[in-house]
Amino acid sequence: MSEAPVTIVEGNSAESMRKFLRALLERKVVSGVFAPCNLQHGVGVVYALVSDVQGISRVNPFAPVMPVNAAGVISEMTRLAPSGEKLAVLLRPCESRALVELVKLKQAHMENLLIIGSDCLGALKLSSLPDKALDTDRIAAFMKESRADAVRDGLRAACAICEHFVPHTGDINVGLFGVDPEKQLLLIPTSEAGAAALAAAGVGSPGEVPPARQKEIEDRRAKRKEARKAYFAKANEEAGGFAKLLKFFSKCIGCHNCRDACPICYCKECFFDSPVFEFEPHKYVDWAKRKGALRLPDDTILFHLTRLNHMVSSCVSCGACAEACPNGIELAKIFPRVADDVQAIFNYIAGKDPREELPLATFKENELSPLGEG
């Protein structure tokens, strides 16, 4: 992109961000802003589609909270058709990657969305959030700690091992690395539409991408690569092999929350909820007799292995599954790890490139040798 980045200085970065979003609404560049917002009657942060300029004061853009993977919500909003009106959508990188996958899966439309992708400092486990609102100081402290990779408590495992903390796609990249977000907000246009929106909003002044940015990103990525490797090696010790896999899932109650929270698992009727899995009573007795006993609800491992087969080539390692598990099963030790291995055989990184075809939607005549031969 030749267009210059824009710098906004308005109190802290959240204030600057709100100023930009407010301008987008006021100048009718967009008719709505999808962003994390403070609840009015609660202490939590949830996603909301804000249409009224006043409402922008609720937007809490950098709260370390990811209530759900937003791609699932955007898919709900745009599954049938593209949004009729232009909407600004604030997304974390794992959310915009999931959205790209959902578009490929024909479950969402990105036309008419102005994707504002933020550099990501990670999110805290919902269960670890305090009962009081996350105030500006607490958020600023988190951002500092996360920049230094020094968040001690509550960081989601998926975030601690994430290598994709800078968005691959989108229209505007909110740069947090390489700048002091307490002093200024850096908005980098990454598409024509992004540059046009920045110009139309008319806030801030021409800025530049500081040279320190690339270095900070590269250092962080290198550290994360190591952390990911170490985490997966530990996971393999804990859950590698059939017996250990059973042990890993011993607390699984078959609620399928991991599937429901997963942005990629879009099927309206999951195979596992279909009549295929309704059996005559005698079947259960037969199975029990064959194995001596039958765990119920049944098909624990069948469910997880099948879900992996159906979706793992699009898994974006967001960790929403782990957040959703009522029994705290550390699912980031399984799904993202398997996803790395599966995506590697197709040289694919889910959600990175909208032009790349889904691994399951294409093939090459000559590939994967010697599979099938012999």
């Binding site: 092999g241 059939f242 006993a293 099948t306 793992v312 399951l360 093939f363 099938g372």
Partner: protein, 140 residues
């Protein structure tokens, strides 16, 4: 261990491998009876869930048989099957499960002898490996 008889489930494409299996039978070729064949319309219809279900419910191994590349009656079902099986085997490997108990082979309708040979090879190999630990776990 010596009297262990592997149970192998075969998902065979109607147009090729299933016909090859019939041919091997009608021409009285010798091959072990360990494979329980299930006829499917194309290797591309085999969802990995069938394979996993077989493995978790008593099969010591699973073989999927399809038409040679370029010969699939539905143009590219076998090519899609190959991707699916590659994913399944990678998942199993990643999780430390015995992915070498899942085979994919192209066996055309005329290849009765090839079918018999593969049935012998597979039975021998699985016999050597012994019973699958995934086969009987009641809590899976």
């Amino acid at each position: 261990m010596s009297d262990f008889e592997p149970k192998i489930v075969g998902f065979f494409c109607n147009w090729c491998t299933a016909t090859a299996a019939d041919l091997a039978g009608t021409t009285r070729m010798q091959y072990p009876p360990n494979i329980r064949p299930i006829r499917v319309m194309c290797s591309g219809t085999v969802d990995p869930v069938y394979v996993i279900r077989a493995l978790l419910n008593g099969a010591d191994a699973v073989i999927v048989g399809g038409c040679r590349p370029g010969d699939c009656h539905y143009v590219s079902g076998n090519m899609k099957a190959r991707r699916r099986m590659a994913i399944l085997k990678t998942i199993m490997k990643s999780l430390g499960l015995a992915e070498d108990r899942v085979w994919l082979r192209w066996i055309s309708a005329a290849e009765g002898p090839k079918f018999a040979k593969i049935a012998r090879e597979m039975t021998e190999e699985i016999r050597k490996k012994g019973p699958s630990e995934m086969a009987g776990a009641w809590e899976a």
